[in-house]
């Protein structure tokens, strides 16, 4: 097992897609369907990386990122925003909120893994 990745994503299909790619590449995937669950799971599971959808029901992705960063245990955990938001300032807002990286949706399955692994510390 290469590592544990927490995926916070509300869309079922997209979650499945992401999980598929990650697992196909040998990662353990834990998933949360909303921000609050995501924050709790991150504290419990201590994943190696968090993939975070920005548009989430209830607590939005920026808030989730801030909450995650509020947990000192997760200081070193990379948070990669995966979002279809592509308006001006989305990227900056994401980084300000504490994200380490930013992958724009729709993802490219051929390059997605490489983009994610860029933020993972070398095994």
């Amino acid at each position: 097992m290469k590592g544990k990745i927490l995926v916070i994503e509300d869309n079922e299909q997209n979650l499945y897609l992401t999980r598929f790619i990650l697992e196909a590449n040998g990662y353990e995937v834990v998933a949360a369907r909303d921000g609050r669950t995501g924050v709790d799971m991150a504290a419990q599971e201590r994943p190696d990386l968090i993939l975070l959808d920005i548009q989430l029901p209830g607590m939005d992705g920026y808030t989730v990122a801030k909450s995650l960063r509020g947990n000192p245990d997760l200081d070193d955990t990379p948070i990669v925003a995966v979002t279809s938001y592509a308006m001006v300032g989305d990227r900056e807002r994401g980084l300000e909120a504490g994200c380490t990286g930013y992958i724009e949706k729709p993802i490219n399955p051929e390059t997605f893994m490489a983009e994610v692994e860029e933020h993972l510390p070398p095994a």
């Binding site: 299909q13 997209n14 897609l17 790619i21 308006m87 001006v88 729709p106 399955p109």
Partner: protein
Amino acid sequence: MPTLSNLRWRGLRSKIIAWFFVPTVMILLTVAWVIFAAYQQVTENAAIERNHALTTLAAVQYTTELGTYTDLLREYTALFAEPDTLSEANMSYLQEVLSASRGRFELFDGGVLVINNLGTVVGAEPARPDVLGENWAAHPYFRDMLRTPKESFSDVTIDGLDHAEVIVVSVPVVGRQGQFLGLIAGLLRLTGTASSSLVQGASQLEGGGEITYLVDSNGRILYHPDATQIGADLSNYDVVQRVTSGQSDAIRTQSRDGRQIVASFVPIPNTPWGMVSEQEWDALISANQGYGTYLLLLLIMSVILPAIVVAIGLRQILRPIEQLNQAAQQVAHGKFGHTLEVKTGDEIEALTKQFNHMSLQLQETYASLERQLHEQLEAQNALRKSETRYRTLFEESPISLWEEDFSGAKQCVEQIRATGVTDFRAYFASHPEVITQCAAGVNILNVNRAAINLLQYESKEPLLTPLAQIFNERTIKTFREELIALAEGQTTFFMEASGLTAHGIPINFGLHLAIVPGYEESWERVFISLTDITQRVRMENELREHQEHLADLVAARTAELTISNQQLAQEIEEHRRTETALEENLSRSETLHRFSRALINFEDLSDLLQTVVDSVAEALPANRIVLYLLDQETEKITHAVRGGKNREQVSEPDYKELQAGLTGWVLREGEPALSPKDVLDPRESTAVQQRRMETNCGAIIVVPLQYGSRLMGTLTAINSPDEPDFNQKDVDLVMTLVNQTAVAIETARLYEETARRAQELAILYDVGQKITATLDLDMILDTIAQGAAQVAQADKSLLLLVDMKKENLLKTAGFGYSRQELNRQSYIECQDGISGWVLQKQKPTLSADIQTDARNKGIALVNAQRSHDKSAAVAPLIIGQEMVGTLTVVNGRDKFTFTPADLNLVTMLADQAAAAIHNGRLYEAAQEADRIKSAFLASMSHELRTPLNSIIGFTGIILQGLAGPLNDEQAKQMRMVQTSARHLLALINDVLDISKIEAGQFKVEKADFDMRTAVENVVRIVQPLADKKELPLQVTIATDVGQIWSDQRRVEQILLNLINNAIKFTDEGQVTITCDVDEGWLQVDVTDTGIGIQLASQRQLFKPFQQVNTGLDRKHEGTGLGLSICKRLVEMLGGQIWLESEWQVGSTFSFTLPLTDGS
């Protein structure tokens, strides 16, 4: 005087030589000698040591040589080691053995013997029957050997018992049990030839010296290079004695024949012998002979060097002294001022400086002496010249001159004075004879030619007669006067006198007597000159007669003159009056002039009025001046300015009181008034008349201050009763001043008005600028409120925005109010006040005092100090037909009341405000709409992308085979799905981009990047596409294309778009991309050989949603947004994009970008 040359050897030179040179030389010589001696000692010792060492070495070598003898013999000892071998019985055997070894014993020229332990000779080689069987136990050498057998060399001994002298080398023969059996002895002849073995061995000896020889322990020479010496007995020679006693040394000594030698001697080990090597001392030292030369050289140097040093030193010391001496000689010969330049830096230089100083002093003194002498000579010459000149002057003078000696007369006078006489005139009058006596004391020394001529003589002589002899009555009288004058201490004296010429003709002359300066005490030289005044005296007489005649005539005409004199006096008086008047006019003109200047330059009205008053006070004999400026509408005195020296006496009346007096009349009539003193003026009221009589009041002038028909005020001038009355001229003067003042005041008023107007306009403009520059409603309101207060010069301003339909107060802004006060305001309050009235009536209004204004229901305006508020101006804010608020300005009790003009300004501002508020509202609405649009776009983008994410993602996964294998048809169809999905995504992205661009939300992020890399990135992406269509992509990037300051992502987007298009629209041929840099600009051309674009379509191409249709079938997919986005992007990055195309031939799309921000 001694010279240096004859001093030489007793002088400094000899002293320096004696004190320095000789001791130095001696010291150097001693040192040189000691060094040499020490050196020689050392080198000699070394030579001796070396000699000894060499000799020792030779001795050792020789010892080795000797080993060969014993070795040879020792070989045979083994043969004879059996106990009985050396018995006499065995002699024949021994002889046989020895004979067999004959050749080997050649070394021993004396032969070899074998002796047994009993001392019997048992063998000999060569065979010596004579000795065989002999017992040599008594032989001195063998005896010792038999007793203490050992390998040894003998001293000189004899062969056998009585034979020649030999040296024996013996080796003991030892039995197997170690018992002594006998000896084998080799004999060496002492007097052997040069070929004898001993000599052969020894002749190679090389000791340290020239002669090396061997001696035995008895002092006998064993070997000597001089063969004749061999065998000689040297036992008495001390060197030999020492070596035979075992010493090893080298000494300097005398040879046996008395030569100086060095003898080295060493005992030769294992033998009783010694080796001596003798070396001639001189030969030994010859190597050191050079030292003698060095010594000599050293000695010479030790003499020469100090000599040179002393010579140079002497030269250095003596030369300046010689120079000094020469210079001193020159000075002695009178060449003063001779100086020297010596830079030795020692006492001599100091001495030289002193000498130079002395020399210059001498020169100066001498020059001074010469100058004095010269001056003296010149003085004498001048004296002589002066004397001559004096003589000439005296003789040639046109004035008659006598040079006389009065010293006798002086004595005479002094005698008289001694008797106590002080009044000489009286004395001489009573003692006329004394004059003659005194005259005798006068000598005439000389007379000049003019004197002779004057008195008509032929020569000098008669005139040189003593004075007393030519006395007559006239001359006595003259002389008496002279004497009195002199006696009274005068040094010059003049009188008119008369006398007779030589021909007896009477002559009048002026006599001038002068004591020559310097002779005032002795009177020895006195000059007397006579001037002929006969003619003058005659003319004076004639003149006197004429005057007398004239006096008669004058007397006759006196009456006439008196009359004309009176007329003249009148004329003068008239003239004087005119002058006074002129002066007065001048003074007034000056006042006017000064005043005019004040008018032109005035800045402050009060100052100007004071100037007017002061000018009037100056120009008029008035002691009280007062100027009133009046506001006839309000019946108020606005300014009252006082002047004159009694200004304090001017009362301070109010407007009404003024009306009662003369001022009232002037104001009514508009005419100036002059009221003389002590007259009841009917133009004044009775009360005023009364008061005027009571107060100390003289005449009064009152003039109106008037511009056109506008009466501004009056000026009153009052004088005191004791001053002259005012006249019409005074009135005119005052009128002139006052009229000018009126003009000035009017000008100032106009100026102020203009300035105010300009200021108002400036404020209005400023406010307009500010409120149009922003769309922020709060800021607009604040700006307007502040501007209103400024433009109306109001204490406070208040702006209310209301919604009348909803009866709601929307916003308040104000100036002079706190935010709290503004926030407390309510709609009801607005309605209650004058604002409410304005909102209802929709027109502006003024309120002189809001406290008493009926429209104000008491709680109208926000104001903590409401009772202080007084004047207000309120204007409505109207947008279209709708009342949206009011703008109010308020002034306190201490400020002016607003005028319609102020209201006008406020209204103008209110209109501006309404327009600005309208704009602001519209802008807020537009912003809101924009926000909604952006939010919609963001949302739509997201909503569309979310499902697309799944579609593209899963398609990709399936195509990758991650979800299981696909057959070809499935794969083909999946790729179609993928292509469509990507196209849809591109569409969404393009729509999003274009909408962002249009909303102005699109931002470029510039940074430095490598253009080459960017182009390569894009080419890498599109290469598969081109490969698929088998289109070559030709990329040419100029070498100077490198870093560029732009937005890499956007540049790549543009490139991607253009190249994608080119590939898309080209079926065959190629696509060329060139990239070049020119003067700060980057240009990229994307050329294809595609279908081309018709001219008509080219213009449409860069507009959104335009794709050139090639026919009814839309063969080429695309949003039609790409080029439009490209154009926007290029422009946002500061560049341009264009295209050149030919239908059916191809197109070139080009764009430029600035390389840096600056270009």
